[in-house]
Amino acid sequence: MSRQADRNKIFSRRAALLAGGKLALFTALAGRMYYLQVLESEKYATLAEDNRISLRLLAPPRGRILDRFGVPLAINQENYRMLLVPEQATDIEATLEAASAIIPLSDHEKTKILREAKRRRSFMPVTVRENLTWNDVSRVELNAADLPGCMIDVGQSRHYPMSDRFSHVLGYVSVVSEPDLTGDPLLELPGFRIGKAGIERVHDLELRGTGGNTQLEVNALGRVIRELDRIEGQPGAEVRLTIDAALQDFAYTRLGEQSAACVVMDVKTGHVIVMASAPGYDPNAFAQGLTADQWKELTQHQRTPLINKCIAGQYAPGSTFKMMVAMAALEHNIVSPDFRAHCTGHVELGNSVFHCWKKEGHGFVDMLHGLMYSCDVYFYEVAKRVGVDRIADMARKFGLGSILDIDLIGEKPGLVPTREWKQRTLRAGWSQGETLIAGIGQGYMLTTPLQLAAMTARIANGGIAVKPSLTYEVATGPESSPRPNQNFPSIPINKANLAIVRKGMRMVVNEPGGTALGARLPNPNWIMSGKTGTAQVRRITQRERDTGVKKNDELPWKERDHALFVAFAPDDDPKYAIAVIVEHGGGGSAVAAPIARDIMNETLRRDPASEIAKERFAHDPNKGDAG
């Protein structure tokens, strides 16, 4: 016990010593306070009174976003705004009244400005109006005498010259909100904008740059006398995308008024050349701040302009999925390409009847013709033999059912159902009828246009598991190098089987009787191969079948079929893959295939390596024309 008592005695003694030390240090702090705030107080008060130098943060210019040829897609524009310093205005309300004569201000705006002016300290400027025209600016300057306390300030605002054509890829910038604050002082600058969606968000840090500062000579009221020194920050990096702006413009225009999406990608590098989702929205409106009405209209629009349908729209792939069924069958040697099924227009399984899209049937078809005619019965028969799990396994290898990690936020994984999946999520056993439905890409199956493009690219490039990407390079200075092309792994499959599927796809577009014969490319030197798809979004009852299935134009828009088409070209040496979906557009061959044809044709015309493009770009090989 005495040992413990010993220890306690030492503890108490040392605690007292420590307390003494702390007291001494606190006394030192108090002494320092006395020195600074009493002895030297006058000196510091004088220094504060004419504190000449104020360090203010400068926002660096945000990096531009360019297309693959250097065409600017997101740039900075000078933004003139009118500020009011309450303290310098003798009568704020009178000044606002006078300002109204030049820039009409609503009563709501006026009360907002007055409230803001009251809340802040009187020397802090309040924004009266942003985005003034040059005309407004000169009139304000002209009437400066009648507007005490008002001044014009130049800021920078983000501008997207191609507006809605790039809204989903680029995203937009907007004011910093509370959860965005990370400690970067730039974020606390009034009026600072950061990327909120799309590339603007994904590459926000690189585009943002680092802040500089300016040393201003300022009087005690905070008025700037002059600038003493200025350290420019590091401007944001330029981000070059893989997209071809002119082609994107072409594709977006071609999609037109419809609710549709189109992805074009390079089958070897994975570079996404076109990512168009229609309708788009005007990102410039976001940079300036949306009104409540504008926001309401965007969010409640039937054709969902805010959603990037290329990556976040999930659709049943319909018949475009048949290549996966064929590959699964061939790889597992379940059927040979010569396997023939007899299509009478429907098959029966238990008590259910499964229909082919062609009521009168296709007769005997083999695999190539099954693809070419898109015979549903053929793929019911094949799917029944292969089983859903092997089909799902093949679909995953080709990029369906999981996200592809494209450099955008909000990519959806889609869904490739398996027995295990159904048991886990729906707590129900898988039925064979569902396998048949999966065989024609319907039922639970969901894919995004991006996944369909990637699947097609992987078919076209001989089974290389290419992944789509949007960023070509991020250039921080003049010296910059493009991101190296990735080496993608090969999918473990037999190349000969893939060649059979490709042959079937070639027949779809190029053989009489193919479902997309009308989508042949106009230039006979270019052969496109593809596959149509029509995804049903409603259930057709037996009763309706008896009386005649309703045509799409007889249905309300929301119940019409989705039209899909996937393709690659040129057939002999595939370079580009395309996926087009038109929501509730009707049949794939009638609606989606012609769009894909036109966009693919333009893609090949604009291909820097093609003969025609060489002529077009002869004057300036590095620049594409933005028209």
Binding site: N51, S54, L55, R121, M124
Partner: protein, 386 residues
């Protein structure tokens, strides 16, 4: 005495939650709330008279922190004793993890992102080290402490995490860890000449360590020794801070009237330099009052430590009080130009969640020691193997 209420607590520690709550030193809780409230007012002022963006969030976090503090206080101290090494081990693993895969924030690698929350392992380490050292010395006799070999494991427990924190790089926390632990060694009875030896070794190592510092850290230290050298660069902070503070005078310029702070001469006025803003607006009188409140809080730590029957409890209560003192002293000395700018917040007042939560957790332990002050504690934390 400042500690109320008194009671003869059962030595086996079997108390109901109600009894424990009765024994919580509520005056200490009130003192903590009072200091934090000073912070709320200053954050309101820093935002030019606005609850957002700082004051409102700080209040919410503080409220959550106080609840956590009370929960910690009600947990049996012997639990902390038993888990001390495990907690220390986890904190060490997290520190290594953050060096390997942490995210970069403000030029330093300090955070681990767990998806839902972000954690800062160096903060956990501050508490973990106090607990681990307290447990180590709890079981040590006076003779043990006299043996140099006996002191090697705890030295490792201090310098390993400190080294990991330095490479993040977070010099302020490393200093806090080393000085805070040094005080624990001192209280445990380590002979003074051993400190002298270690300090001599440390001074000898400065030229070597200097090479490992980042450029901005070197600048901060150089600027400290000669702030006028570069009045618009790194020395700007200190010079402006002194002007703001000094111009506040004896009684200050009044709430929300601090011109230097509000004209944005003063950098980081809501975080590290909040004391400057406080002193500009409330003068030396305000500064001394705040210092007195802090001194009172530290005094509570002493009172609780002296009241605890167990050595573990004593060392924990003192350890927390020491860390808290270091926060206060380093921050205030820094903004008044007595120490280099090392990035230590003013505890309970500066805007920021992690440091506040750490401290409230620490106070939770301190109150816990008080609640369980009479509990018997064996060498390993059970009550019967005395």
């Amino acid at each position: 005495m400042i500690l109320e209420p008194r009671g003869n607590l059962r030595r086996d520690g079997n108390m109901s939650i109600g009894e424990k709550l009765w024994h919580v030193s509520w005056s200490l809780v009130l003192l903590i709330i009072a200091i934090a409230s000073v912070g709320f007012f200053m954050l309101y002022s820093a935002a030019d008279g606005d609850m957002s963006p700082w004051a409102n969030r700080q209040i919410v976090r503080f409220a959550a922190g106080v609840v956590m503090m009370l929960v910690v206080a009600l947990i049996d101290v012997r639990f902390w004793m038993r888990q001390a090494y495990i907690i220390f081990g986890i904190a060490l693993v997290l520190l290594i993890a953050v060096d390997l895969f942490g995210t970069i924030g403000m030029g330093a690698q300090r955070w681990i992102n767990l998806g839902v929350i972000q954690i800062q392992p160096s903060e956990i380490m501050k508490i973990a080290l106090v607990l681990a050292l307290a447990r180590y010395f709890h079981g040590a006799s006076h003779e043990d402490v006299g043996r140099p070999l006996f002191l090697l494991p705890p030295l490792g427990m201090v310098f390993l995490p400190a080294a990991l924190v330095v490479v993040q790089p977070d010099l302020g926390t490393a200093i806090l860890l080393i000085l805070g632990s040094g005080a624990t060694f001192f209280l445990a009875g380590v002979r003074l000449w051993k400190f002298g030896l270690l300090i001599a070794l440390g001074v000898g190592a400065i030229p070597i360590g200097w090479q490992f510092l980042r450029e901005y850290q070197k600048n901060r230290i150089l600027t400290f020794f000669n702030p006028e050298k570069d009045p618009l660069g790194a020395g700007y902070h200190i010079t402006q801070s002194k002007i703001a503070l000094g111009s506040g005078g004896v009684f200050g310029k009044g709430f929300m009237e601090g011109t230097q702070s509000h004209l944005n001469y003063l950098p980081e006025k809501h975080t590290d330099f909040i004391f400057t803003m406080f002193s500009e607006e409330f003068g030396m009188v305000g500064g001394l009052l705040l210092l007195a409140l802090y001194a009172g809080l530290i005094a509570y730590g002493y009172a609780i430590a002296l009241r605890s029957r167990s050595h573990f409890g004593r060392l924990v209560a003192m350890g927390i009080a020491n860390i808290f003192f270091l926060y206060v002293f380093i921050n205030i000395a820094m903004v008044m130009g007595l120490l280099p700018v090392v990035g230590v917040p003013l505890p309970l007042i500066s805007y920021g969640g992690t440091a506040m939560l750490t401290l409230l957790f620490g106070f939770g332990l301190m109150i816990g020691v008080y609640v369980h002050r009479d509990v018997n504690m064996g060498r390993r934390g059970a009550s019967d193997d005395v």
